[in-house]
């Protein structure tokens, strides 16, 4: 007798069996969960806990042979981040983030022609600034769907950003695939200091609207892969009000286009390596926009547990970008177009960053320490740089973080 027939026959004579076949139907109809994979895939709320992270960020001074004039000491930032995750019940969760930063140092203004290539002019006075950022999010689960909505606010004395996002994730019946859609919006307001004195714009707005799609797929018991695409449109005042341009001896404000459309393709891989029981993580992003910037970014890390309580994580990141056609460190004559910028961050360059983190894990807490050295240079570029960008930055970043789970 086939099992199905047997179940039917039994159900006719035994009321318990009737309940049983109903149980099988309900079991088969139950959405098949993937508990435990809190961050990897949806379906379960993230673990409750509280986090604190301290970061000290210190840019190397600009070398004397690349400096025209100004203060060579660059930015130094101290940052405190807090995060709390609290679940109301099995399907509702809240998260709160807060960040406080203090910044000081001088920043690159523009470059001038020198005997052996461009020389950087730095802002003279030391800038001192504070930034506060807060955001709150809610996550709720409904069947195979997981929703996330968040709003946030960031404020500096010359910059305010208000932003919001909504995303939804759908888990497949076998629990091996999650598809995610998201939108986010930001409205930023720039009010530069000393606007009149330096002829800067007094107040300006910019908006950004972004949409994204990603698919996360379990490939094997050791491997998971996420592919994603995102589109962003920025509009409004997209220039940096403090950045200047040297054009044939005159120094004027930079002028970027007032619209920018950006595209990213991303691939993220997580692979469990059986021998050392380590996790290999690889994130790749391809970026391009209608300013003609194209960029490749690859971030690889190795998470190696040592014994029951320690973990060591070396990682390396490589980024290479090509410049838009309105970028040059300086212009000997009036450029052909109506846009110009000498912000070194738009130049053609490559950057390498090396990081090492160590983490000590207890039952309900973890402590981690990390260091990074980041260096950007024209010689690391993939495209051929047409110019030297004397403002290219290198920095150290040191951090310490504490996590409590409740």
């Amino acid at each position: 007798m086939a099992p199905g027939q047997r179940a039917e026959a039994a159900a006719a004579t035994d009321s318990k069996m009737e309940r049983y076949s109903k149980a099988i139907r309900s079991l088969l109809a139950t959405s098949l969960g993937l508990p435990g994979m809190q961050d990897l895939l949806a379906k379960e709320l993230p673990e409750e806990g509280a986090d604190y992270r301290y970061t000290f960020y210190d840019e190397d001074p600009i070398p004397q042979n690349r400096l025209a004039f100004g203060d060579p000491r660059r930015y130094e930032i101290e940052s405190h981040q807090f995060r709390v995750v609290k679940n109301i019940d099995d399907s509702y969760g809240l998260e709160l983030n807060f960040q406080h930063e203090t910044m000081s140092g001088s920043s690159p203004w523009y470059a001038v022609p020198g005997p052996d290539g461009p020389l950087q002019v730095m802002s003279g006075a030391t800038i001192r600034e504070r930034r506060n950022q807060a955001d709150a999010g809610v996550r709720f689960l409904r069947g195979d769907w997981s929703h996330h909505a968040a709003v946030g606010y960031s404020s500096e004395n010359d910059y305010v950003a208000r932003y919001g996002s909504y995303s939804v994730e759908l888990e497949s019946a076998d629990g091996l695939r999650v598809t995610s859609w998201g939108v986010s919006y930001s409205n930023d307001e720039v009010t530069p200091t000393d606007a009149r004195e330096f002829g800067r714009v007094e107040s300006a707005d910019r908006d950004a609207l972004s949409g994204s799609l990603s698919v996360t797929q379990v490939l094997s018991r050791n491997t998971v892969l996420q592919g994603g695409v995102s589109l962003t449109r920025q509009s409004g005042f997209l220039s940096d009000p403090y950045k200047l341009v040297w054009i044939g001896g005159a120094v004027i404000a930079e002028n970027r286009p007032d619209e920018r459309r950006m595209l990213t393709w991303t691939a993220r891989l997580r692979h469990f390596v059986e021998g050392p029981e380590a996790a290999l993580s690889m994130d790749y992003r391809y970026f391009r926009d209608d300013w003609d910037v194209a960029a490749h970014t690859l971030d690889i890390s190795w998470k190696q547990p040592i014994g029951e309580t320690w973990e060591v994580i070396p990682s390396v990141r490589y980024h290479a970008q090509s410049a838009p056609d309105f970028y040059a460190p300086y212009f000997l004559s009036q450029p052909g177009g109506i846009h110009w910028s000498s912000d070194y961050r738009l130049g053609t360059f490559g950057a390498l960053s090396y990081r090492l983190h160590a983490r000590l894990k207890g039952e309900k807490w973890s402590l981690s320490m990390g260091a990074e050295y980041y260096d950007s240079d024209e010689s690391l570029a993939l495209a051929t740089p047409h110019f030297d960008s004397p403002g290219l930055v290198s920095f150290w970043r040191l951090s310490a973080a504490l996590r409590f789970l409740y």
Binding site: P3, K16, I24, L28, T30, L32, G33, P35, G36, E47
Partner: protein, 154 residues
């Protein structure tokens, strides 16, 4: 898309009323135990692993239930599916339980019972027939489980 449909079209076997048997070592003693050893009792079989989020909730609640129903002809048999025994031991050191824990690192019993979610649990009558099953765990399940058990043991 076509590939996806082919993959999803695999036939789903309907479970027989008789619970598939197993013979597995007990965590604490290493003694081999079979489902037949529990014949004559109402048995609640729970498949779990230390990495499974809801299991952190369910195991302590099952232990509470075991203590309340100690006098009855009722047993909980938990089948641990961790790859490494140490993970199960570490979990149980934090959430100690008084019921039987069997080890199945290869997951053969889970395959035989065709479990579709972690955790999964089954209620068996005194003849080792499956009366009801649950995929996943939420705190709402617990009252259901308890009333089903009481209906069988009384």
């Amino acid at each position: 898309m076509l590939l996806m449909l082919i993959c999803l079209a695999a036939p789903v076997a309907v479970r027989a009323a008789d619970a598939p048997s197993f013979t597995l070592p007990e965590l604490e003693t290493g003694r081999m135990l079979s489902l037949e050893d529990f014949q004559g009792q109402v048995v609640y079989v729970d498949f779990w692993a230390s990495w499974c989020g809801p299991c952190r909730k369910s195991l302590p609640l099952y232990e509470e239930m075991r203590q309340q129903l100690e006098a009855k002809a009722f047993s909980i048999v938990a089948i641990n599916l961790d790859e490494k025994r140490a993970d199960a031991e570490q979990f149980l050191a934090r959430h100690p339980v008084g019921y039987t824990v069997l080890l199945d690192p290869a997951g053969e019993s889970a395959a035989a019972w065709q479990i579709k979610a972690m955790p999964s649990s089954f209620l068996l009558d005194t003849e080792n027939r499956i009366v009801r099953s649950w995929a996943g765990f939420t705190t709402d399940h617990l009252e259901e489980i308890r009333s089903e058990i009481l209906a069988l043991v009384d």
